[in-house]
Amino acid sequence: MPILTQGRRINRVLVVDDEPGSRDGFSESIEDLGLDVVCEPGPMDDPDSFIASLCGKADAVLSDFRLRVIGHYSNFDGDRLVATCYQHQIPALLCSSFTDASTVIDRSLMRFIPVFLPTTTPQPEDIEAGFIRCVEEFAGNLPPSRRPWRTLIHIHDVDDSMEGLFHVILPGWNVREKIPLWRDHLPANIQPLVQPGKWLHAQVNIGAEEYQDLYFDEWETE
């Protein structure tokens, strides 16, 4: 039975995963929800071409985070794919049990990833709730944990042992927790400003309870 919400109908879901067996696994969860499933066999060159090819094929997307383990499937990971879908108002869920996902994910993209299920065995009801949440956000209904605020950010340290890694502290969120970020995930004009002790501003959802759910967007140079 299709999902009907905010005047929108989700009947067919595209499953994206580089592992064929896993695509089948995700498909079965969706089928048990009563939705139709199509699988993306790859290869995928860039998210925009993917979006163009989606037209008429599916109403929503469920993607794994790591899409580049098995060769010749995708040139990008699931975070970019789901964020691009969101920007085109296509409901999309990201799933992963990858241990380091929360560390390596691009936090500017997290703004456009409303649902990140930390599992590869999502239950049908979780999938349904996830798609409904996406559509709610498209209608402008953001839960408090996802609302952006202009936030003061303190660059705590730059990690010399790992190229490009640095830590920030958000005094307005939690003065004790250091949050890892990657320099190359920042806009080019901000990257040179990453120096220990520096204070910057960006839009951050400081209503989030866990650091894994924080996004950083619209960085300011002043």
């Binding site: 089948d24 049990s97 040179p192 220990p196």
Partner: protein, 685 residues
């Protein structure tokens, strides 16, 4: 109607905005610079006590009555703000006149005498008596009288300011600071004969002046010259103390990390001279090491010269605007610090791209300033990278050299022995042979140990790769498939599922759960964040290890009894170090249980704190230390377990030693099995 100022504003602007006495005097010296003076002397008379006076005298262009009235006496606006260059092409350095006010108010009276270059026969005198402002309400209630006088024959153009009856003394420390600032003001390291020469008449100045004139640049081990051209393109080279080029780089190499097409700042040169002061290599230099050390101690740091004049506080003691010391702490090898280097950043900025703060505490941190700092740091990073490469090559070369030297030494000693008397020869030869055999064995032993570490590292890397892979793919597929089987069977065959399928489904789920936990445990060990030195809460680390190990220990029926002392001991080190101690001790116990007939498998982990030390005891109910001596358990490769590495306890011992602690063991402890004692110095509880 108009806004007027209370006389008290002079005190507020003068004294309260003035950061220090030396800064105020420097402002007057800069006025001399702006007046195209070549010399400017500052004389302190009885200034070490209140009531003394200061005379600032220059050979500049002097001032006309118009200059005095519309410039010198106007606060908050300087005629130099027009930024037109002076007669000698200097970019004016004076500010809004507040620094000058601060200096003039150091005494109770100021006498200005000035002879303008454009009026050959004129001299002007102006007296400001600050006490007169105490009795009036508004600033302009006091009228100043400018007295023109005919110039005496022979008196040349210039200005003299006498500040009389000083309100407070100028201490030795302030004089020394003033001397240093005056010397550094006009880039004394440059070679401009037409340059501005400020002089302070004080013994402290003479000492420092002698030091500055000696200039030990030529003795520096490395001389970095980094430039930005007018198009924002950069280049750099590093010279040795003989001025031979060691390394050079163009824009593409220097800016590759940040992928910058250009640096958005004025054309500039950044030079840095770094001294290693190694006794072994500091030979054939122009002066003894102690001289260059004293010189760097007095003038070290990276100074900024804007339009030929120094901008404070960059390069002052304690000012490390390029974070050189921080970088050196993080990576001590081949990095300069403010204690062993001296440098300058020179640029001309007629367009006022960089503006100094009103209180003279440096530039406003505009994009241009940040870009300059960025480039200087990029150049330092580049130099450090090249020096690291060089150091690595040197180490490899030294290694090869040691091997060849050893062979040569052996040849020489063999030859020498041939000359010995026959009766002594055989005895000495045998002694030498035995000694060489012992050394060779030791070397062989170390080589095996290194190889063992490398093999284990490779095993670790491989298991991490597999851990990623198994969590990412095969386990995921099994998980998803069994979840589908469970869900569909529950829906379509509820009775059959409960009676016949639930148990095997739960078994598969339990097994994949354990597998993925083990994979995650491997990856957790590799978390690089744990390797960074920081405050480590010992109980927290033990708890984390036990949490990670729980799915591994439970199926083996191993019970852990963690008995912590009533405190939270912590030390400075890396979490990885403490973790490796605890992990290896648990691994050791787990391995021991496999050799034990005791059905009760227990591990005791107990902590106590005494006299600044943490005592950690790990005891198990295994067979204890048998078939190997207590002393040998710590040696690498010694194990009683087939296919064991014999490295676990060696790692424990080495790690504990690195943390400044001690290890010990007893063969049969509280639980009957081995008991290991670790003592670690802690920072607190």
């Amino acid at each position: 109607m108009k806004i007027r100022f209370a006389a008290d504003i002079l005190r507020r602007l003068g004294e309260e905005l003035n950061p220090s006495i030396d800064r105020g005097i420097l402002e007057l010296v800069k006025n001399s610079y702006d007046a195209d003076a070549l010399m400017c002397t500052v004389e302190l008379a009885n200034a070490d006590q209140p009531g003394g006076h200061i005379v600032i005298k220059d050979d500049g262009d002097g001032m006309t009555s118009h200059d005095i009235e519309d410039g010198w006496l106007v606060l908050g606006r300087s005629i130099k703000e027009q930024r037109t260059r002076t007669r000698l092409g200097r970019v004016p350095a004076g500010n809004k006149g507040l620094g000058r006010l601060a200096a003039l108010r150091m005494g109770s009276r100021v006498l200005l005498t000035t002879r303008p270059r454009t009026e050959k026969a004129s001299e002007y005198n102006l007296l400001i008596d600050w006490d007169e402002y105490k009795g009036v309400e508004l600033v302009d209630d006091v009228l100043l009288n400018l007295e023109p006088e005919p110039r005496r024959t022979g008196d040349k153009h210039g200005t003299e300011i006498q500040i009389e009856n000083l309100r407070s003394k100028i201490g030795r420390r302030e004089v020394k600071r003033l001397a240093r600032e005056m010397l550094l003001l006009a880039d004394p390291f440059g070679d401009d004969p037409k340059g501005f020469k400020p002089i302070l008449k004080a013994p402290e100045f003479e000492d420092l002046e002698a030091l500055v004139q000696n200039r030990y640049f030529q003795d520096a081990d490395f001389h970095l010259i980094a430039k930005i051209d007018k198009d924002g393109r950069v280049s750099a080279q590093v010279l040795d103390w003989r001025d031979a080029i060691l390394y050079s780089a163009d824009h593409d190499e220097l800016a590759s990390k940040k992928n910058k097409l250009r640096y958005a700042c004025p054309e500039l040169t950044f030079e840095l001279w770094t001294f290693l002061w190694r006794t072994s290599s500091f030979v054939a230099r122009s002066a003894p090491m102690k001289d260059s050390k004293a010189w760097v101690e007095a003038f070290g740091g990276v100074h900024i010269y804007q339009n030929g004049l120094r901008v404070t506080p960059y390069g002052d003691p304690g000012n490390d605007w390029l974070d050189m010391n921080l970088s050196r702490v993080r990576s001590p090898e081949e990095r300069p610090s403010t204690n062993n280097s001296i440098g300058r950043v020179l640029f001309n900025d007629a367009g006022s791209l960089l503006v100094q703060k009103t209180d003279r505490s440096g530039f406003i941190e505009s994009d241009t300033f940040l870009e300059i700092r960025d480039y200087a740091q990029d150049a330092l990073d580049w130099m450090a990278g090249r020096r690291m490469e060089e150091a690595q090559k040197r180490r490899e070369h030294e290694k090869a050299e040691v091997t060849s030297k050893t062979a040569e030494t052996r040849r020489q000693s063999d030859a020498a022995m041939e000359d010995l008397p026959k009766e002594a020869k055989e005895t000495i030869k045998k002694a030498f042979r035995d000694e060489r055999d012992a050394v060779d064995k030791e070397i062989q032993h170390y080589q095996q140990e290194i190889q063992l570490y490398r093999t284990l590292s490779t095993a670790g890397i491989t298991s991490a790769t597999f851990a990623h892979e198994s969590a990412g793919n095969p386990i995921k597929v099994i998980d998803q498939s069994i979840a589908t089987v469970e869900r569909r069977a529950r829906t379509h065959l509820p009775e059959v599922y409960e009676s016949q399928l639930k148990k095997p489904v739960d078994r598969i789920k339990g097994a994949t759960g354990s597998l993925s936990v083990l994979g995650k445990a491997t990856l957790k060990l590799l978390d690089h964040e744990k390797r960074r030195p920081a405050r480590v809460e010992i109980h927290e680390v033990i708890d984390k290890v036990l949490g990670t190990y729980a799915p591994f220990l439970d199926p083996r029926h191993i019970a852990v009894d963690a008995q912590y002392c009533d405190a939270s001991p912590y030390l400075r080190g890396s979490e990885a170090a403490v973790e490796s101690i605890v992990t290896n001790l648990i691994n050791n116990s787990v391995a021991a249980f496999e050799r034990s007939e005791n059905k009760e498998r227990k591990i005791l982990i107990k902590t106590e704190v005494t006299n600044g030390y943490l005592r950690l005891r790990v005891a198990d109910s295994g067979p204890g230390i048998e078939e190997i001596s207590k002393r040998e358990i710590w040696l690498p490769g010694r194990t009683t377990r087939k296919n064991g590495t014999g490295l676990g306890l060696t790692i424990v011992r080495d790690t504990v030693k690195d943390l400044g602690g001690e290890v010990d063991a007893i063969e049969h402890g509280e639980f009957g099995g081995a008991e290991i004692f670790i003592q670690l110095p802690i920072l607190g509880v």
